[in-house]
C-alpha cells in the first residue's frame, strides 16, 4: 500500500521535531523518520544514565505526539519522484510526500593527523554519543581536542560518565575566545549555558591555541598511550587512554544532494540553500537546522518550526523570522571564533592515512587533479563510508571539493534496492 504524508520530515533532532510539531499543528498528516532507534538527534541523544534536559524531553514529546507518525530506525536509501525509498532493520518501503522537510543535521569534521587511526582515538561528538550509550569510561584519562563548543559539551558528558578529562585543547587562540566571551551578552541564554558548562568543568584545563599534533601508541604499537600537543607554551606530551577529537560540525548533505537541491558554500563544505521560509530550490522540499549551515540547537528549533509551518502551507509569523536572524548571528560569531587555523590543515604528513576504509595516505593523492581521478587510482573514498570522512577532510584541506551523492545514501540491503514502488 502506498503511504502518503502531507509533510514528511527526515531527521528527528531538534529541527525535525519542531517541524513535525508545527506542521501537525496545522492539521497536516505528518511523519518523522530517523535512522536512529530513538528520537533526539545528536544533541538530544538519549543518555542511559542521565535524565534528559527539560527542553529535550519536551521537544521530543511534542515532536512525536500522535497523530504525528514516528518512523524509528528508518533510513533513507534512495529517492524517486515524490517518494523516498526507506529501510528499517526488517523491511523496506516507499514513502510518498506532499512536502519534504530535510532536517538531516550535522556530523563531525574529522581531520587526519599522525596516529589518528589508533584505537582509542575517536571523534569528540562520537565520544559523547558512546558515553551516553553506556560505553565504560570510569577512570579513563581522556584528552578532548579539536575546536568549537562541542568540545565543552563532550567533556561535560564524559566527565558525568566518570572519565577523567585531562585537558581540553582548543585550536582557536585564547584571544579569539576572550573576544567571543565578551560578546556573549547579546545571547543571554548562551551566556548562562557557557557559565553552567564552566562550572561543570571546574578543574579541567581549557587550553586555547592548542592542537594535538600526534597520537602516540603504547609499546605494542596498537593502543593509544599519549598525545603530543603544541600550544602557546610549546610542545608537550599528555598521557591518556583516549583522545576525543573533532574539528567542528559540517552539514549532512547526502539526501539534499541526491534530490538535487541547490547548495551554498559552508566554508570548504556545502549547506542547503534556503529562502526565508526554509524553502529549498526544489518545489516540495524544505530544509531546517544544521543542514542549512551549522547554527546550533536554538536555531534548529526556530528553523524547524518555520519549515514545518511553510510545508503545511501556513503563514510564518514575523517573530519567528526575527528570532532566526538573532540565532544565525550567534552561529556566525561562533564560526569566526572557531575558524580553523592553518596549523590544523598541516597536521597530516604524506604517510598519514586519509581514507581509513581503503588505507590511502595523503601522499598517494599527489598529482590527482580531482576526487574522481584520485578515487579511481587509489580507491580513496570507495569504502564503507563512501567518502563521508575522507571527502570532508580533503575538502577542508583544500585538496578536492566534495563529490556528489548517489544511491544508496547509506549501505542498504539489495532486497531494499529491489523493493517495488507501489502504484501511487
Amino acid at each position: 500500500m502506498a503511504e502518503r504524508y502531507d509533510v514528511l520530515v527526515v531527521g528527528a533532532g531538534p529541527a525535525g521535531l519542531a517541524a513535525a510539531q508545527a506542521a501537525a499543528g496545522q492539521g497536516a498528516r505528518v511523519a518523522v523518520l530517523d535512522a536512529q532507534p530513538r528520537a533526539g538527534g545528536q544533541v538530544w541523544r538519549h543518555d542511559v544514565r542521565h535524565a534528559p534536559s527539560a527542553a529535550a524531553a519536551r521537544g521530543i514529546h511534542d515532536g512525536l505526539k500522535p497523530p504525528i507518525e514516528w518512523l524509528a530506525g528508518t533510513s533513507v536509501v534512495a529517492a524517486q519522484g515524490d517518494a523516498l525509498l526507506v529501510q528499517t532493520p526488517q523491511a523496506a518501503r516507499w514513502l510518498h510526500y506532499g512536502n519534504l522537510v530535510l532536517a538531516t543535521g550535522a556530523r563531525e569534521l574529522l581531520l587526519p593527523f599522525p596516529g589518528w587511526t589508533l584505537p582509542g582515538v575517536v571523534g569528540a561528538g562520537a565520544a559523547q554519543a558512546l558515553a551516553k550509550q553506556g560505553w565504560p569510561l570510569a577512570g579513563k584519562r581522556v584528552v578532548v581536542a579539536g575546536s568549537g563548543p562541542l568540545l565543552l559539551a563532550a567533556a561535560t558528558t564524559l566527565r558525568a560518565h566518570g572519565a577523567h578529562v585531562v585537558a581540553i585543547c582548543e585550536q582557536a587562540e585564547a584571544s579569539a575566545l576572550r573576544g567571543f566571551a565578551a560578546g556573549l551578552w547579546r545571547w543571554p541564554g548562551k551566556l548562562l549555558q557557557a557559565g553552567r558548562l564552566r562550572l561543570q568543568l571546574a578543574g579541567v584545563p581549557y587550553r586555547g591555541g592548542t592542537v594535538v599534533q600526534r597520537a602516540l601508541p603504547a609499546a605494542d604499537g596498537c593502543l593509544l598511550r599519549a598525545v603530543g600537543i603544541a600550544g602557546p607554551r610549546g610542545t608537550e606530551r599528555l598521557a591518556c587512554d583516549m583522545l576525543a577529537v573533532g574539528y567542528g560540525l559540517i552539514p549532512n548533505m547526502e539526501l539534499a544532494r541526491l534530490l538535487g537541491c541547490a547548495t551554498q558554500a559552508f566554508g570548504a563544505h556545502a549547506a542547503v540553500q534556503v529562502d526565508a521560509r526554509q524553502h529549498t530550490s526544489l518545489d516540495h522540499v524544505y530544509a531546517a537546522g544544521e543542514a542549512c549551515g551549522i547554527g546550533g540547537v536554538d536555531c534548529a528549533r526556530i528553523e524547524g518550526a518555520i519549515a514545518g509551518l511553510a510545508a503545511a502551507g501556513a503563514a510564518v509569523p514575523a517573530g519567528l523570522l526575527r528570532r532566526r536572524g538573532h540565532a544565525r548571528a550567534f552561529a556566525a560569531a561562533l564560526r569566526r571564533t572557531f575558524a580553523l587555523r592553518p596549523q590544523v590543515h598541516a597536521l597530516a604528513s604524506a604517510d598519514t592515512l586519509v581514507c581509513r576504509c581503503e588505507d590511502v595516505t595523503l601522499g598517494m593523492l599527489d598529482g590527482h587533479a580531482d576526487f574522481r581521478s584520485a578515487k579511481l587510482a587509489t580507491r580513496c573514498g570507495m569504502g564503507a563510508c563512501q567518502g563521508r570522512i575522507c571527502g570532508a577532510a580533503l575538502a577542508e584541506l583544500g585538496r578536492f571539493p566534495h563529490a556528489g551523492s548517489r544511491p544508496p545514501l547509506f549501505p542498504a540491503r539489495l532486497s531494499t534496492l529491489a523493493h517495488a514502488e507501489p502504484a501511487s
Partner: protein
Amino acid sequence: MSGDVLIVVGAGIVGAACAERASAEGFDVTLVEPGTVGGGATAAAMGHLIAMDDDPAELALSHYSLGLWNSLADLPQAQFSRCGTLWVAADERELAGVPAKLERLAAVGIHAEAVDSAALYQLEPALAPRLAGGMLVPRDAVVYGPAVAMHLVECAQARGARLLRDRALRLTRDGVELHGGRTLRGTVLVATGCALRELLPALPMRARKGHLVITQRYPGLLRHQTLELGYADSAHGSDDSSVAFNVQPRPTGQILIGSSREFDDAMDPAVSMPMLRRMLERSFRYLPALRGLDALRVWTGFRPTSIDGRPYIGRVPGMEHAWVAAGHEGLGITTALGTACLLLDQLLQRPTAIDAAPFDPARLAATVAA
C-alpha cells in the same frame, strides 16, 4: 615509422592501449583527453576478461587480446584475478547448448569444461537450487580497468608521449582541432567510445546504458565470475532493454553485480530504480543470498555500441590520415590490447595477427553512405 606523429584522441582503456603500443613502435604520440584517464566506460565497466563465443570475429579478437593480457597479470594495480568464468544453465535446454560452445572455444584454443549440476554447486555453493549445470572457462579473469589505463598511459609517457588535457573539436584535413584552439597535425586515431559521434558522425554509434551495484565485503561467498548462459542474448541482442545475471567477486571480497542494457543516446547517468530492480531481481533468481547483502554503491555507465555490435578498428573510410578504434560495447577491457595491436599492424601496413576485415569501419560507413 620512428618519429611519425600519431594523435590519439581519448584515453579510455582502448586509447591508452593504442598510445602505449604506438609509443613502443616509435611513434611521436600525443594523447588528447579532457577528463580522467580511464574515467569513462573503462571506469564504469566490470573489468571482466572474457571469451565470448557467439560471434567468431569477436571471439578471435578476444582470444588474441586475452593472450596479450597475460603480460599485465603481475601488475599490482591491475588487481588481476584469474577467477574464471562460470556460465550457468538454468535448465536442460540451456545446458544442451554447452557442447557447441565448448567446440567453438576449443577451435580457437580456449580450454573450457562442461559442468554438471553437482559440480556446479561444488564450484559455487551459494547458487540457487535446481540449476541444470553449466560451463567453466578457467582462464578468464578480472582486472581493474582504470588503473590499467593509467598504467598504459604512463608507459607511453615514459617513452615520450604527451598527455594533453583538452577536448577534440573536429578532424581537419591533416590533423585535429582542439577546443582550446590549438590544431595538431598528424595521423589521428579516434578512440572516444560513445563520443565518437562528435568527431565521426558517419560511423553509427549508440550509447547503451548499464547499471552496476557493488556490495560491502563478503569474502568467500562467490569465487568465479558467474553469468547466466542467456547473457549473450542480452549483450548482443538488439532489444531496447534487457537484464542478465552477471556477478563478479572482486579481490576485495566485494561482489559486483550486473548487468542491464538500454539504449540511451542522451546519456543520462541517473540511476533508474525500475531498471535497478529488474536487474537485481534477475540476480536474486540465480543467487538468492544476494538479497540480504548490503549494497555500497550503485552507478551507471555507457557502452559504445556500433550497429552490428562489433568495434570499428581501422582506417576511417574516405580519410587518409584518420583511424578509429571505438565501439567495443561490453568487451572493451577484454579486447583493448588486441585492438591496439590490430590497429598498429594496419597503420604500419604489416600483416595482422587476426583477420581485420570484420572490424573494418568501411563495412558500415558504406551502408550509411548508400
